[in-house]
Symmetry: C2
């Protein structure tokens, strides 16, 4: 491709509404433009990267025995009503009505449509197992679209669905898809981790997320330093401490804390170290048989954070977790948040394992502006249950039993689920089993955020000058930048010749034939992240040489003009 016939659309300034580096660089490199909130046009160079991802995803899906098909974006409401998700999904499901006033949804995912398809087309165990996939435009009406294509309302996803006669067979396919996902991220050249994950609104019994590691990632991931264990922090188990609780050594004492409503203020104004105090969070309890919901207190150590998913999975707690309104707290306790604690609370109390081994600790006294010191479980608080309700932290022992945990940040780009019979049962998707009886199919589903991978890859691969694409993702493998082409005869001639030869050799090449200053051209190629730039300048030509620059390493290497095409093709194709 010649730049003069292309639409490069690079920007010098960073657009003010782009918060994260991938969004900024995708705009600046001319990969995307915003059409409306959460809706993006992919420019030619952006689309090439997207297609590179799609290609590798398709190849690995095919290798894993999955078969490609294509379902509509527009899905009839009745299927979602049948699965129960028409009600459950909330406003992220973009609902529309057609000219005849019939309700439809724009598909954020296709469990309902594929289950309907399979229940009609697959009748016998002999046709199982089968894995079907598609690469498709998905729609999700995000409450707050942001970060460019990272959290868009319209995006490209690969979604696959597998159907089985047994859970064992599902497990086998799940493992094959897990491996296919690893292959995909390997081939894309990304640093990634598969991690244990929560199943969320999709449901099922087992689930892994695939994260591209990047400091800017929205998710925290916990890894063992001595095993393969890795889990999303929302899913990572915090083991109960092995240490015993110390015996009480202090009396319960109240002290005035009018200026200390947080753990930080307690430390600043009263010298209470965070790990010597506790946080008391009041949430709504699970509904009783009359649909009434009381309050429940959750206690974690002052230096720990509540894990909402763990808390809401507790029998006593309403799911999804909902923090109690201040008015409800005042009515029940007589004090405001900031002065709450476990002593004398008239509601169920759930204490995190790590808080439950504390002795002589500090908490609010359930009177505004007052705290207790010297609190001891058993003596001062007798009625409570102990559970794992906090996020793990750096240094916690790994739940696998080996090593301790480190925390890194990641961008979730894939998610696979063992759904079991959740959808087949609600939608009555059975087959004739070997015994001649009807049997519900077991099901797995496997998603990859294709457009999101593009952004995640940039979060992981960038510097002050722009994007540093891994070769497999790059919009172009090689750029030819001739210096002052319009001032010379031999430079355009040699540049044009090299361009033709590289094209003939099948290299995806961008020839910057604009009449721009060299600095402008170099900046654009670096911003766009082209892995190799071939510089053609007068001085090197005098020695019959051209210079190749490696975007990732910065390394420069000379090639004789005669060997340049052969050697550079070999270099690129060897990766």
């Amino acid at each position: 491709m010649r730049t003069s016939q292309y639409i490069l659309a690079t920007l010098k300034e960073t657009p003010s509404d782009a918060e994260i580096i991938s969004h900024q660089l995708m705009l600046r490199a001319g990969m995307i433009r915003k059409l409306a909130s959460g809706l993006y046009t992919w420019l030619p160079s952006g689309l090439k990267v997207l297609r590179n991802v799609e290609k590798i995803v398709r190849e690995e899906m095919d290798n894993a025995g999955a078969i490609e098909m294509l379902m509509p974006v527009i899905q009839p409401a009745d299927l979602w009503q049948e699965s129960g998700r028409w009600e459950q999904f909330g406003p992220e499901l973009l609902r529309i009505t057609d000219r005849n006033n019939r309700p439809f949804a724009l598909g954020p995912t296709h469990e309902e449509v594929i289950t309907d398809f399979v229940r009609k087309e697959i009748n016998s165990y002999k046709q199982l197992p089968i894995t079907l996939y598609q690469v498709q435009t998905k729609v999700r009406d995000e409450v707050r679209p942001r970060f460019g294509v990272m959290r868009a309302r319209e995006f490209t996803m690969k979604d696959a669905y597998s159907f089985h006669l047994s859970e064992e067979c599902l497990t086998q396919t799940y493992q094959r898809m897990h491996q296919a996902y690893c292959n995909i991220f390997e081939r894309l050249g990304l640093d990634y981790r598969p991690v244990l994950a929560d199943t969320g609104s999709i449901g099922g019994s087992l689930s892994h997320e695939f994260h591209v590691l990047a400091e800017s990632g929205e998710d925290a991931i916990a890894f063992s330093d001595a095993s393969d264990y890795a889990a999303n922090i929302e899913k990572a188990e915090a083991l109960a401490p092995k240490t015993e609780r110390a015996a009480p050594s202090k009396e319960l004492n109240s002290f005035a804390t009018p200026e200390a409503k947080t753990i930080a203020e307690l430390k600043a104004n009263h010298g209470v170290k965070p790990h010597r105090g506790v946080k008391t969070l009041i949430v709504y309890g699970a509904a009783d048989e009359n649909e009434r919901r009381g309050l429940v207190a959750l206690i974690v150590r002052g230096d720990h954070d509540l894990n909402e998913l763990k808390a809401q999975s507790h029998d006593l707690v309403h799911s999804p977790l909902e923090m109690a309104k201040e008015q409800d707290i005042i009515s029940a306790i007589g004090a405001r948040p900031g002065s709450l604690g476990p002593v004398g609370l008239n509601m169920p109390v759930i204490v995190d394992h790590s808080a439950a081994v504390m002795a002589d600790f500090v908490a609010g006294a359930n009177k505004d502006g007052e705290h207790y010191s010297g609190i001891n479980w058993g003596r001062d608080v007798t009625d409570y249950v102990v559970a794992d309700i906090r996020n793990v932290v750096e240094g916690d022992p790994s739940p696998c039993g080996n090593g301790s945990l480190h925390i890194k940040r990641g961008v979730e780009v894939g998610h696979i689920f063992q759904l079991g019979t959740k959808y087949s049962e609600s939608m009555n998707a059975g087959v004739l089993g070997e015994s001649g009886k009807n049997q519900m199919m077991s099901m797995g589903c496997y998603g990859i955020g294709v457009s999101r991978i593009v952004a995640a890859a940039i979060e992981q691969n960038n510097d002050d000058y722009g994007i540093k694409w891994p070769l497999a993702l790059a919009p172009f493998s090689l750029a030819i930048v001739p210096m002052n082409m319009h001032k010379s005869h031999r430079i355009p001639e040699i540049a044009n010749n090299l361009y033709s030869e590289f094209k003939k050799a099948g290299i995806d090449i961008l020839f910057d034939d604009r009449k721009e200053r060299p600095g402008v051209m170099f900046n654009d190629m670096e911003l766009l992240g082209v892995p190799y730039t071939l510089v053609i300048g007068e001085r090197n030509l005098d020695n019959n040489q051209v210079e190749l620059k490696n975007r990732r390493t910065g390394e420069k290497r000379m090639f004789s003009i005669d060997d340049a095409v052969t050697e550079i093709c070999a270099l690129i194709n060897s990766q």
Copy 2:
């Protein structure tokens, strides 16, 4: 691909709701399934055909210098309001509102979005011309979705848009795209015609449709038998007859026709030959300055059909054409349709050229149950205008001046337009011209119905046994059908070996490894339309031979097992 690991989903019975052959065969061959009215899931074999079309379309677009990008399906309403089409487009534009109650459309086409993109990104004449395209899911809320993917509500389209500084430059690109379209249909192996066409709701000054010829096509196309002239019948000019009108030879006479309300009944009950009578159609006239619309009479020869597009383009007639309500006709004329004619009409009368050269003809007397014979223009009707308002018919002289017209039927699969400045003016899309002044861009747009091509190809290529794919479109080039595989040792061994070798050679191959009777397997391969079937049977193996059957010609040919792969690959790759 092995059939046992595939989802073939062929059907023996023709689904009752499929009216046309392509819809029937796509369902029976397991290419598509209906999800809801006008919404189809593409099964693996259908999707492969769709991808074959996409691939050729992309290659020819790239060859023509167009650059691929991707715009959102969901488009903000304000752009459509800016172009004026939010009002004009009608209910086929599927309008939706997001969670914040903002209005959007699901894009049936992207003139607004691309014009908005280009006006922001292209600022100087130096960046022109540019042609951008995408292959994308489009949505059109059809009033009556039917014929499967032929007229679906969600479909795949390639749409391209070109931008220019001048009309001359637009014409050049238009011609290049015209050629690219010809290349595409050539390569797809389809019998097609580019024809002059009306510009419809897209607008512009010049337009060609591309039709795949098929007897079942919805459109009629007129061709000259002595030149390249071809036009959609709605656009084909009917030349004025060169013959002079004969002098009157009969008196005006009324006769009772209580049982003759149509041309056919006039012939059956009164012996009036259709070309000796006229049809009188009453429509609404163009609005006057007070927005009042009167009635207008349109007169065509009894054996001719009104051309609505020609009629509505007449100054006197309201556009779009609207037939007058019976009550309005009775109020104005005092008679019902079926007894109307030009004599004594108190409204403007437009007479088709062919009707205007008739003498002594028959028409309604504007009294219920009464007709006139012996009507003569000038003598009995003095106030009328003459225009071309009928469809051409077989044998009419070609408007190009050479030869006479033949009529064939076609399926419209492509449509290209010279839009000129229609959108750039309404949306203020200008660039800095060479003179330094702002100048509106000229624009072309170029659509191909990718999913519709699949159906159109089947309409043109089928027989009683199923689909006869041209090789370029086929889901598989070759099928291996082993006879009674489970009863033999050497048949599965040879079949498996051949399968591996063909795969290694890059042939897209389907290995029918089901334990089915040979007849079932042959029927499925014929239904699916695989161009070549390699039959492996005991008797031929005794002679070290296998048999290749050509689906299109029915021809059978023997190959020695040792040469089969080399020779059959050569045969397939030579096409």
